[in-house]
């Protein structure tokens, strides 16, 4: 170690005592990490050749396959059987959602800045490159979809959505601190309402399909299930035996059965439970089933959060003379819910994957669309599942992977499990 290095390390008090990072040369690195013992070498060689074979298969697949089935059915995969002359509706909705997301990101960034200012901790605004690094799979998926299009319109739509999202970011960032939360809630409600009216106009939501249906069922299912799940979690933790027994029964029952059985119930049986003559459409039925299913899981997530709040918090609130309801509302829930965010994202991911099960009750979500594309005359019985299924898998992989990484980031940031 040179003298200069020593001086530098002492100038930075944090760095003192840190291990010195040793950079290995390529050969030394390979020796250490790939060929340290004879069986290590054997493993490396076996796996290496497997990797090469797999890579070769992948490359051949990408360059020799005919992606016509995806090109022709792209709209089907994205929005299902939505009337083609009404496609402007989801397009406008997409742009609205981008605006909302941009505003949310802006508001999040601004409040992080303010918190940093108040606490005097250093604040570093995440660079566009860092954001890109976090969300590159989404971008990659969008590019793949755009590559499959035959006209210019989708490119324009994607561009408009991007501009809308990026453009509303500074808007959200510039909002004064007082109106942020209120404004966001109002805006979310307005955009959600406009979205529902706009996109269900013309077909009603029973005509929805494709990836759009998966996303809708995930978001709507989770939002609808949350209040129910919260009540169930509070019921399960309650000291009132009747409430506890009912909550436990419900949660354990739902968690003990597969989602499929609930979906079958939604399709075949829910009609029996409703007054005669009241016949909801299939999407509504599925949404009811998903809400019932998901609420039990959310209840367990929230219960975990409630358990993570130290008992001293409640005792302190009682010592201050807060009423039980106020203790819950002002002391326990804010801390508990904050701790559940990562687990909630995990729940979001698993619901997103579970929405594919609606195929089994005959709905055309993205997986159903890919299956029905394979049943079309031009593509029938050519084994094109090897093209369509990886595409669908990519859509789910991108969503789940990005969200799970975000969850981990949040976990780290919120310091869950760290005191």
């Amino acid at each position: 170690m040179s003298d200069r290095e020593v001086i530098e390390r002492e100038a930075d008090p944090v760095a003192v005592g840190r291990p010195v990072h040793i950079r290995l040369g390529a050969r030394a690195w390979a020796k250490k990490n790939l060929f340290s013992t004879w069986y290590d070498a054997l493993l490396t060689l076996t796996l290496g050749s497997l990797f090469v074979a797999f890579g070769w298969t992948l490359i051949r697949f990408l360059f020799t396959s005919d992606f016509a089935i995806l090109r022709v059915n792209l709209a089907l995969l994205m929005v299902g059987g939505f009337p083609r002359d009404q496609l402007w509706r989801p397009v406008v909705a997409l742009i609205l959602v981008s605006i909302l997301l941009g505003l949310m990101a802006g508001i999040g960034s601004a409040s992080a800045r303010d918190t940093a200012e108040q606490t005097g901790l250093p604040y570093q605004r995440s660079s566009p490159m860092a954001v890109l690094k976090r969300f590159w799979p989404v971008l990659a998926f969008v590019v793949v979809v755009l590559m499959l299009t035959e006209t210019l319109t989708p490119w324009l739509v994607a561009g408009a959505a991007l501009v809308a999202g990026v453009g509303s970011f500074p808007l959200g960032r510039g909002l004064p601190a007082g109106v942020r939360r209120f404004g966001l809630v109002i805006l979310t409600i307005i955009i959600a309402a406009v979205y529902l009216v706009l996109v269900s106009g013309g077909v009603g939501w029973d005509g929805w399909g494709g990836l759009h249906l998966n996303l809708f069922l995930t978001v709507a299912g989770l939002l609808l299930a949350f209040p129910l799940g919260l009540l169930l979690a509070l019921g399960r933790r309650s000291t009132l035996p009747a409430l506890r027994a009912m909550s436990v029964t419900y949660i354990e029952f739902i968690r003990g059965v597969p989602l499929i059985t609930l979906l079958l119930m939604g399709i075949f049986v829910i009609g029996f439970f409703l007054p005669t003559g009241f016949r909801p459409g299939n999407v509504t039925r599925v949404l009811i089933a998903i809400t019932l299913f998901e609420s039990a899981y959310i209840a367990e997530v929230v219960r975990g959060g409630l358990q993570s709040v130290p008992g001293g918090q409640v005792e302190a609130a009682q010592a201050l003379g807060l009423a039980p309801w106020k203790t819950m509302r002002r002391i326990v829930l804010p801390q508990a819910l904050r701790n559940t965010i990562p687990a909630m994202v995990g729940q979001f991911i698993s619901l997103f994957k579970d929405t594919t099960l609606v195929v089994i009750v005959g709905m055309i979500d993205i997986l159903g669309a890919s299956q029905s594309a394979n049943a079309q005359g031009a593509f029938l019985a050519q084994g094109l599942h090897r093209v369509t299924l990886p595409f669908v898998a990519l859509a789910f992989w991108v969503g789940s992977y990005v969200m799970s990484r975000e969850a981990r980031r949040l976990e780290h940031k919120l310091g869950v499990g760290v005191r």
């Binding site: 790939l34 009747a242 354990e252 059985t261 079958l264 029996f272 005669t276 994957k353």
Partner: protein, 392 residues
């Protein structure tokens, strides 16, 4: 000031009295839930009567109306028998799948922490890919891309006459029972019980005297020697049976339908990716000092895992792993997508043939529920036993 002040505690008015409130809240919520359930029940019975469905379980003895491949269930068989075959088929997946996914999961979980760069990268890619894709999609992929392109049943692929591979089924050489097989089975059961006792005896000897226990050697030795002696004494209670294909009819050997293998491979790989994450997390949760101490004692890499790290991580890993087993069982209900006749598919088809949906789905949920609740009861017991008894 020596007089003690005795003041009668005044009770607050009843609407602010916690004791009254507690009862009131419970009564009210019970009443609300009861009312909702009553309305639902009322609608259900009214609607069922209006359509003319009877609210009883007599339909169980009526014909199911579908035939199940790979079993003797035909259109005329009773509903309950078909459902039973469905449960058997579900179990056929579970019994083979759970040991398989455990092995793969542990291997991959350990591989993710390997010091070999390529091994850990490969394991990471496997986990991060499979975990983030819906299981249904993996099943469909295994079926449409893995099983269907296999050779047609009329021109099957054979491996040395020992196995037959077609896109309808895969059959391998197995055993078939000959005379005295039942007696052999009973003898082996007794031998198994005896082996368990020997195992416990050797453990006790080890604990009390410190002699090497060699319990694996003792128990398997006992089992194997009993098996060999019994086989010879009974003059061959079972014999090799090769699969034979005559036209479209298969006989002999062990065989599974294409849908079964698609389900098995897909669900095992999917669930193993989750188990691998659990294993990795639980290994990381073992304090580093334990590994370092094992290194200081000059244990080999395998010994360090086998005797120091894995036993400690097991305690952390078991509850979530069993949760994954439960998920595996619940995911077998996706057999409906590839036509594998497990219990959900049979219920679904029976409903399609006019059997009453409310009762069928109740039965279906009941079947899964019995299984899940049994498992969670076992987990709770296990958890209590595995809990560390306070260290000083």
């Amino acid at each position: 000031m020596s007089t003690a002040i005795t003041k009668k505690v005044e009770r607050p008015p009843f609407w602010r009295d916690l004791r009254v409130l507690r009862v009131l809240i419970q009564v009210l919520s019970l009443a609300v839930i009861g009312a909702i359930l009553y309305v639902l029940w009322f609608n259900l019975t009214t609607n069922m009567r209006a359509i003319g469905i009877r609210a009883d379980f007599d339909f169980l003895t009526q014909p199911v109306g579908v035939s199940v491949t790979g079993s003797d269930i035909g259109a005329g068989s009773a509903v309950w028998r078909a459902l039973l075959v469905g449960v058997q088929n579900t179990f056929a997946l579970v019994v083979v799948g759970i040991p398989l996914l455990t092995i793969i999961g542990v291997l991959v979980g350990v591989a993710r922490l390997s010091s070999n760069w390529l091994v850990s990268k490969a394991a990471t890619i496997y986990v991060e890919t499979l975990r983030n894709i819906p299981p249904l999609l993996i099943i469909l992929f295994a079926f449409f891309v893995g099983v269907l392109p296999l050779p047609d049943i009329l021109e099957p692929a054979r491996i040395l006459d020992l196995a037959i591979i077609t896109n309808r089924f895969i059959a391998v050489t197995g055993f078939s029972a000959a005379e005295g097989f039942e007696i052999f089975g009973w003898i082996m059961l007794v031998a198994l019980v005896a082996a368990i006792f020997v195992w416990r005896w050797r453990t006790r000897v080890f604990v009390q005297t410190g002699e090497p226990h060699h319990r694996v050697l003792w128990s398997t030795g006992l089992l194997l020697s009993v098996a060999v002696i019994a086989y010879l004494a009974l003059q061959g209670p079972f014999e090799l049976s090769k699969p034979v294909l005559a036209g479209r009819a298969l006989s002999g050997g062990f065989s599974g339908l294409g849908g079964y293998f698609a389900m098995l491979v897909a669900l095992v790989l999917y669930t193993a990716s989750h188990v691998a994450e659990i294993v990795r997390g639980s290994i990381l949760a073992v304090p580093r000092g334990q590994s370092e101490a094992a290194n200081a004692l000059a244990l080999s890499g395998f010994q360090r895992l086998r005797y120091v790290v894995l036993p400690q991580s097991l305690r952390i890993a078991i509850p979530p792993t069993i949760n994954q087993y439960l998920n595996f069982v619940k995911n077998t209900s996706l057999g409906i997508a590839v036509g594998y006749a497990e219990v959900t598919l049979i219920a679904f088809q029976a409903i399609g043939n006019g059997r009453p949906a409310p009762q069928m789905i109740l039965l279906l949920m009941g079947a899964y529920l019995v299984f899940s609740l049994t498992i969670s009861a076992v987990v709770n017991v296990l958890n209590r036993r595995l809990q560390l008894v306070g260290r000083t």
